[in-house]
């Protein structure tokens, strides 16, 4: 008797993304009972403005994690990029916004390139490199800034007003410009990851680095590229950070790296590489933000309970993912290889590599 195979278009990634949407919906329903005026345009605005930074970072992190690496320096990149861009904007209030955004992206890409060089060409494990650069970038910022803070009123108004600019408004519900732009960027990148060659190659490297290298893939260049992309996106997040808060101190962005990893993980990205989608990471960031912001508004939950509940919920989300994911992965793999019949007496799973990496 063979395991019934699922149709090919129901890929595990889609299932994961759909299940995330489902979990978000369930959370919204539950909190709707606990919080007054929950379903308001106001709350939607809160979520969309606060999630953009973590979402961009989650996507950045995913690009690196699928190659079986990690980037713990994203928080420091955000800080450096936000601070330097703020300094620039304060000193050149008439400069074009495009230039300012480009500066942020460029700084991020440069810092990401350093990471990429050390990981891909220096062959130093990513966790070591990025633990080091986390500290090095931050300490550079501290000494560069000399304890000066960028204040909101020194910035040109287009920067400070950016978070509230809307594309379209439906009643009190705004579709904010930054949110819209970020969603578009993520959609484009996600499409690239799934359909373009470089995207699929990143997944290949993460699933099995040795095989990828033997198959002739330019692994080092691709991993380097992933880190540069991650850095550039972190730089963008730094710009968004500057626009949102206005006041940038030397500790800006500290701790964001953990948020980005948590969002990616909740979004179904495996830390072992080779699986997970950018859309999943975006949804993961949204889920965590919805949970965080909702818990703050539940009057019975004191702020001291929030972290504990958040930790438990993250764990629950991941366990659910593993439980659901395994089941569908097996069926999908069976269908993808029509010549392999999965019968009871079949010794091995059709995708042993995937299973072993889960164990």
């Amino acid at each position: 008797m063979s395991t019934p195979a699922a149709p090919l278009w129901i890929r595990p990634e889609r299932i994961k993304e759909l299940s995330l949407v489902g979990v978000i919906a369930v959370a919204l329903v539950i909190f709707g009972f606990l919080v007054d005026d929950y379903y308001s345009g106001q709350f939607f605005n809160r979520i969309t403005t606060s999630v953009v930074i973590t979402a961009v970072l989650a996507v950045a992190q995913t690009m690196v994690v699928v190659t079986r690496n990690i980037d713990l320096s994203v928080g420091s990149i955000v800080g450096v990029s936000a601070y330097l861009t703020g300094q620039y904007a304060a000193a050149h209030p008439d400069a074009s916004p495009v230039l300012a955004v480009g500066l942020a992206l460029g700084i991020g890409a440069l810092l990401g390139a350093v990471n990429g060089l050390l990981v891909a060409y220096g062959r130093v494990p990513a966790i070591i490199v990025t633990l080091g650069t986390l500290a090095i970038y931050r300490s550079w910022l501290v000494s560069h800034a000399e304890a000066r803070t960028i204040t909101a009123d020194s910035l040109p108004s287009w920067v400070v007003d950016l978070p509230t600019r809307t594309v379209v408004s439906v009643g009190s519900l705004d579709v904010r410009a930054v949110f819209f732009v970020v969603v578009v960027i993520v959609a484009l990148l996600a499409a690239g990851m799934q359909r373009l060659r470089w995207g699929r190659r990143l997944y290949a490297i993460g699933s099995n680095p040795e095989a990828a290298a033997q198959a002739g893939l330019p692994t080092r260049r691709l991993v380097f590229g992933a880190f540069v992309a991650c850095g550039a996106l972190s730089g963008l997040a730094g710009f968004l950070f500057l626009a949102r808060f206005g006041t940038i101190t030397v500790v800006a962005g500290q701790g964001l790296e953990l948020d980005s990893v948590a969002a990616a993980v909740v979004g179904g990205v495996s830390v072992l590489g080779g699986s997970g989608t950018l859309v999943g990471a975006l949804l993961g960031a949204v889920l965590i933000d919805v949970l965080d912001q909702s818990l703050v508004r539940v009057p019975q939950v004191s702020e001291f309970w929030r972290n504990a509940i958040l930790g438990a919920l993250i764990l629950a989300a991941v366990i659910a993912d593993v439980a659901i994911g395994r089941r569908f992965r097996r069926r999908w793999s069976a269908e993808a290889r029509p010549h392999t019949k999965v019968t009871e007496d079949e010794p091995a799973d059709p995708a042993p590599a995937l299973e072993a990496s889960d164990a």
Binding site: D37, Q42, N45, D153, V250
Partner: protein, 362 residues
Amino acid sequence: MVRAHKLLAVLTCLALAAAACGDDDDSTSTDDDSGSEAGGAGEAVTIEGGDSMSSILLPKCTGIAVFDQANEGAQEAAEELGADAPEFLGPSTCEDPTGQIETMTNAATQGVDAVMISNNAGEQIQSGVDAATDSDVAVVSWDSPIPSGEGESLFVAQVDFDETGVVMADMALEIMGEDGGQFAVLSASPDAANQNAWIAALEEALTDEKYANLELVDTVYGNDDADESYNQALALVDSNPDIELIMAPTTVGIAAAGKAMTDEGLCDRVKVSGLGLPDEMREYTESGCAPQFALWSFVDLGYLTYYATYGIATGQMEAAEGQTFTAGRMGEYTIEKDPTRDSGLRVVMGPFTVYTVDNIDE
């Protein structure tokens, strides 16, 4: 393989031996005995320069403008007195108190003459303070005191803490009007001795008849982090939709709350007040979002703290109740017992300035 092992063991022992055979002399303090005499308690003393003094100015954390201003004041004072400029050292984040403890303990090893600390570590700073006083380092606190008062020579208070409560209550009354209403407090770190004292004073002040219509509904903590404070301010409004005012006795909190209310277009409903820096608050005051807020001069606070510390470390004055001293351009001050703590001495610096749209440009 055995030889390599032994080589390593020898090298390691060498490193440890170097430590054990090291010099045992304690570094000597460079202060002590100058021309001027120590004034007895009660005898007015004018602090004069001439002696060197090595010192550390230890704020709650770096990256906050008011502490930079305090540093300015301290540097100014050091220049006037002809002493070494104080080292401005502080942890990079206000959330972790262990950085202050480390700096305090290192100061003891370095043998500096004095440490001037704005305490962010609550009672935990005590181990560092004890280590410092064991090594004859003078410990003077400013802005935020050492709760037990032990080991601390003096606390230079910017204002009377109880008065702060009244000032905040008065501003709240003026902003919300006679009918009063609900308001909430956005503070810094739950550890911060000064903010906690001010909030307690505010609650105490509110019991007076005059403020009967004012209701304090919630207190939240932003940890002097712009992110956190911003989010907390918005959450306050969402959870307590009837509040009319956010009172933030922290310059980071008030600026973040001002931005949050402005960003979300809430300024009509919810005003912002508390302790803020004119530079950071200007646009919110001019827009009407923060019609009133108060502060004192941090530059003056740093200046006065340095003078007082210098006087104590050079032996020119005693850190005792009743001691009067003149601190440069700031004039005369008298040390008194600190009524807001169980034990400890303090010197109260000076007046509040309440900023409104009229005087904000000064």
